[in-house]
Symmetry: C2
Subunit: 329 residues, 2 copies
DNA sequence: CTGTTAGCGCTTTCAC
DNA sequence: GTGAAAGCGCTAACAG
């Protein structure tokens, strides 16, 4: 910076002002400084800048699994907005593990990030960050009561998807679900129940089957579901479980949708590539990411009222070939 | 840090040494300091640390498209190693645009990252970073001659895939490809040619069809390929183009593999979900990412001889149901 | 509008 | 093995 100042014949502080601040520098000087900086290939040091100004443009993003297209899309949406707004994304995979999550949060804290977007695993993580004065936006799910969040309306989406199946005459729909601790799973289960209730049908609790979070477990659980319950349709609570369900249906060569219907929450690309294409609920995942980033930046810039803000993104039912009229026996 | 020093009854410099350096602090003092830090919830400030020590643990990762599972897997592999080794990943999507890429590189430079892993779009980007003393590893493709790189053996993979098709009796294989400027596309094309040559068959140049990088364009190009060339098999140069090719084959209700075979470079999850599952070349993408990170860290730690290191990851042919004997007319 | 001064929080000489 | 002092590169406060 000294060099640039000398080259432009001004003081270091003027260089700083000319390069970054708006105002407080005459246009003529500003131009001269910028030319000098260009000529010398000067790149300002973010570290020093952040240290002195006690601000940072880096944003931490904490997600569970980048290889799951849901999280990849979420991260892509976040990154798009951050980049456009001149921020940087520090991305950490926590593998859904509370300890990894907390450890990552501490690192982000040490890095003095301006804010964090997290798909929380444990409530302790957003809380710790907030207690340390870091802005936090929970994306996709919500834990504890504090803080801003961007959420999909899981209940409405699951209700709509279930109504679609009920409308086709299915009464025994197996719900394949991995967790209901979080607002996502809980919401989807609630929507499933609500649709049955609205239809005036009693829901057999045995139709709700819990499985682990990976496709292989879902395949096994689907097997049990088919063996033990007489279902005419399967509703998978997310894209990963749907892989397992579909694999088992294909293994048994059950014709879809003639013999059995399959619907899945969370639209991802492969669902329109398989034959028949899968009926799903599109969560607008990239938008979910964009909104999370926008909300966080608005909070950082202090453009929002103090009380917490919850942004809800409406999901959309996408009917494709995998769901059809319930077979009559 | 002052507070911790006071709490532990030592000087700030001792706190620094006790917390981070190995040696230069008595075990007894070290323990006392750590206890004090714990009690006060002290989190050291990375910015100040990096500024003073002129080192940073942040690593920049520059990729083209996070929503493409190839890049997502690459990033996941990189992140896994970086996190394990106590580094942070700053992830930037450059959308395959040289200007975005260069802009991102400048930001990373300003952030004083310890190194950058890039799937380069233009040779200028790695060069600029290297000129500024930043360690660079090119992942997946190579541009210009400088620098370390982790590459898949595209030629071998494409050759093996083509040999597989030739072995099934296909002689007119349409190669659907988007670019050959980069080492990836060039290598795959070279492998395709080599297989024909090894088989002693003359390659009709019209079988090589160029398309844009998105699935929709690939669909249209596949249409032209089917209309204008008599092909019994299609080989798609990557996972995205394969989506377009498959969509068009399905639209025409061409039976796979009876009527036409489809093979694709770059195995991604949907390829084993569709019916029939797609024959592919698995690039071990996550490993590619892991190796890139390991190579970069080794370079940063100065564990490598000065001359550049190229790591090659061997791809693997995965034969599935989408390829079968060529139909006889 | 611009220069001077001080100092962000930490690590690293250099004495002791 | 430990403390005191200096300073990383920059920006904010203050004069002018």
């Amino acid at each position: 910076m000294q060099d640039v100042a000398r080259e432009a014949g001004v003081s270091p502080s003027t260089v700083s002002r000319a390069l970054h601040t708006r105002g407080y520098a005459s246009p003529e000087v500003r131009e001269r400084v910028q030319a000098a900086a260009q000529r010398l290939g000067y790149v300002p040091n973010h570290m020093a800048r952040n240290l002195r100004s006690r601000t940072s443009t880096a944003i931490g993003v904490l997600i569970s699994d980048l290889r799951n297209p849901f999280y990849a899309d979420l991260a892509a949406g976040i990154e798009e907005v951050l980049r456009f707004e001149g921020h940087q994304m520090i991305l950490v995979n926590d593998n859904g593990d509370p300890e990894e999550e907390m450890h990552a949060a501490e690192t982000l804290l040490a890095m003095q990030v301006a804010g964090v977007i997290v798909t929380p695993v444990a409530a302790a993580c957003p809380k710790m960050l907030q207690d340390n004065g870091i802005h936090v936006v929970s994306a996709d799910r919500q834990l504890g009561r504090g803080g801003d969040a961007v959420l999909s309306d899981n209940k409405a989406g699951a209700r709509e998807l279930t109504e679609h199946l009920l409308g086709l005459g299915h009464e025994r729909i197996g719900l394949l679900i991995d967790e209901t601790k979080w607002s996502t799973g809980a919401g989807r289960l609630a929507g499933f129940r609500a649709a049955y209730e609205d239809a005036g049908l009693e829901l057999d609790e045995d139709l709700i089957v819990f499985t682990s979070f990976d496709a292989e477990a879902a395949k096994q659980t689907t097997r049990e579901l088919l063996d033990e319950q007489h279902v005419t349709a399967i509703l998978s609570a997310n894209n990963v479980l749907a892989q397992g369900a579909l694999a088992e249906l294909k293994r048994r060569r059950l014709r879809i949708p003639n013999k059995i219907s399959l619907a899945a929450y969370d639209d991802v690309p492969w669902m329109s590539l398989v034959q028949p294409a899968i009926t799903t609920v599109d969560q607008h995942t990239v938008d979910l990411g964009r909104s999370s980033a926008q909300l966080l930046l608005a909070r950082i810039r202090d453009e929002l009222p103090a009380r917490r803000r919850i942004v809800r993104v409406a999901p959309r039912l996408v009917v494709r070939g995998s769901t059809g009229p319930a077979p009559r026996n």
